[in-house]
Assembly symmetry: C2
Homo-oligomer: 327 residues x 2
């Protein structure tokens, strides 16, 4: 049987993932068992470890052959987990990766503070590099991410959200972290600026494609695989590109019906089917898919200056995976 893209990648990075997993446990080091429990709930619940993996692979692509990359790679997973903890609370989500979210098991306060701890832990690990540029990149990621989330929150339910604003939001809330992860790997490998810029560009475009695919999955049959309900974004008032584009193209009559569905957080299954029909008819899904494809192509193009070989091949696979993943 032919291996799926995901299986292919997993076979190639098996050893790296095992090392990353060990580093994730080793570098957490909280004083209190409670913090460890809450952090572990989000950290060890089947995350893809995509960000740490990008760090390790990009560093290798730059010729890095030390052992500190695994430790540093945890920065980006801890940061990611911190934002997930805060975001799930903010969105009052119920499920994440098929399990109950942390604030439903513990309480809001513990979750806010464990998120703070993970943010701080990330920056402490960054500080151990003694490399001011690395630290600046990591601090900058956190600044941008918090602002991206606020922007999204502030514009919740806004029917006039433009494509440019959407791009700005997903850049900040998702792509900045991918960009910073790949950029950092070049910095610790002491790669020349041109390579650091290329990898930052790879990460940025991968992140954009990854988020657009995520937003598409929310309108696909497979979204159950995400471990949350279909149409979850819309129920939270998050307008994403498939909807934004469709609204911009719909005629007056259809737009009214669309707005009715969008503005009703308790829309029915049949409402949702109507919505999907419009997303297909007006090309909102296809347009988003195309935009994601362009970012994937740009991500791959950014790898052109690097030596061909297995590491570059895996990074290319990962770019394809960002586009085609089903969960």
């Amino acid at each position: 049987m032919k291996k799926s893209l995901k299986e292919k990648i997993l076979t190639l990075v098996e050893k790296d993932l095992a090392d990353i997993e060990k580093a994730m446990v080793k570098n957490l080091t909280p004083h209190l068992p409670l913090v460890k429990d809450v952090a572990s709930h989000i950290l060890f619940a089947g995350g893809k470890r995509l960000r740490p993996l990008l760090m390790v692979l990009c560093a290798r692509l730059c010729g890095y052959n030390g052992t500190y990359d695994k430790t540093l790679s945890t920065i980006f997973e801890y940061l990611h987990a911190a934002t997930l903890l805060h975001d799930d609370l903010i969105d009052d989500a119920k499920m994440r990766r098929g399990q109950t979210v942390a604030h439903k098991i513990w309480n809001n306060a513990t979750v806010v503070l464990t998120g703070d701890f993970l943010l701080a832990r990330s920056l402490s690990i960054a500080a151990t590099t003694n490399n001011p540029k690395v630290i600046q990149v990591v601090a900058q990621i956190t600044e941008e991410m918090s602002q991206g989330e606020i922007q999204q929150l502030h514009r919740k339910g806004a029917l006039d959200l433009s494509e440019a604003e959407y791009m700005d939001i997903i850049y900040r809330k998702t792509a900045v972290l991918f960009q910073g992860t790949c950029h950092t790997s070049a910095l610790i490998a002491e790669a020349p600026d041109i390579k650091a810029d290329a990898l930052a560009d790879y990460g940025l475009n991968l992140g954009m494609a990854f988020q657009m695919t995520d937003d598409l999955l929310d309108y696909s049959q497979d979204s159950k695989a995400l471990g949350k309900g279909v149409g979850a974004d819309l129920k939270e008032g998050k307008l994403t590109l498939p909807v934004i584009y469709t609204l911009s193209k719909a005629d007056k009559k259809d737009r009214i019906q669309l707005e009715d569905i969008i503005c009703n957080p308790k829309f029915s299954k049949s409402d949702f089917k109507i919505l999907i029909k419009y997303l297909k008819a007006y090309g909102g899904l296809a347009y988003t898919q195309k935009k994601a494809q362009i970012h994937t192509a740009k991500a791959k193009f950014a790898l052109n200056g690097f030596e061909d070989g297995q590491t570059r091949q895996i990074l290319t696979y990962l770019a394809d995976y960002a586009l085609t993943r089903k969960a």
Copy 2:
């Protein structure tokens, strides 16, 4: 008329405070007006600017004569504001410094994220020093503070909270920030380790005295001046040293009455008077006062190795102020 200690200090640091205020506005730089509004609500509401002031004065004591100290001093006020935003939310506080708390004006989500932004902003400013030690200290402060708050939260309402645990909690949630602030000032002044250690020690002890005085104020007639209600800590289930000590000394009968009051978050004014009576009778207030005095004395002692002069004098005044302040 004789000037109060506070007036004396304010006259001596007038120029520094004006510079700090300017730096506070200049270095905030969020992308979104909303973030600026929420951050400004907590940042520009009559805070004492004690932490930035400590940074500027301690740097001067180490012979620093650059201009970057004002910028860096904002780190510690932003960090402080971030924790206030998150803590007020966690405690579901209503008032802070005589005004409505941020999460009652905006919403929980915006406040969590603005707190995250301020944490990140602090670390970004720290990163501009290009000094890994400074960055490590700042990241470490954030890690410890979040854990101190979690520990306090986790032990809320616990009648068996020991004096040692209380000390551990206030060290993490308050003194670590003072310690880190004073330590950082020595680092940017490139002072020898012995001076950096002495200033860290000054800050640590000042912080401990400051928090104990804060905890005493919650049981004093003057606590209205704090901008929150008398007995607010106890209503939130926070057992502080005056109560911990009193519980440890009370006979069985009195202890039962005390526990009844403590465990009732809606205790009456007359209940509170009875509690105060016990805090006085069993020496809980006096004991806390004495412990705070010891820390103040240690803080002043830590300054002994530094040149005598106006700057050292102000730092001595500040140690006294930490002990005698009424708000």
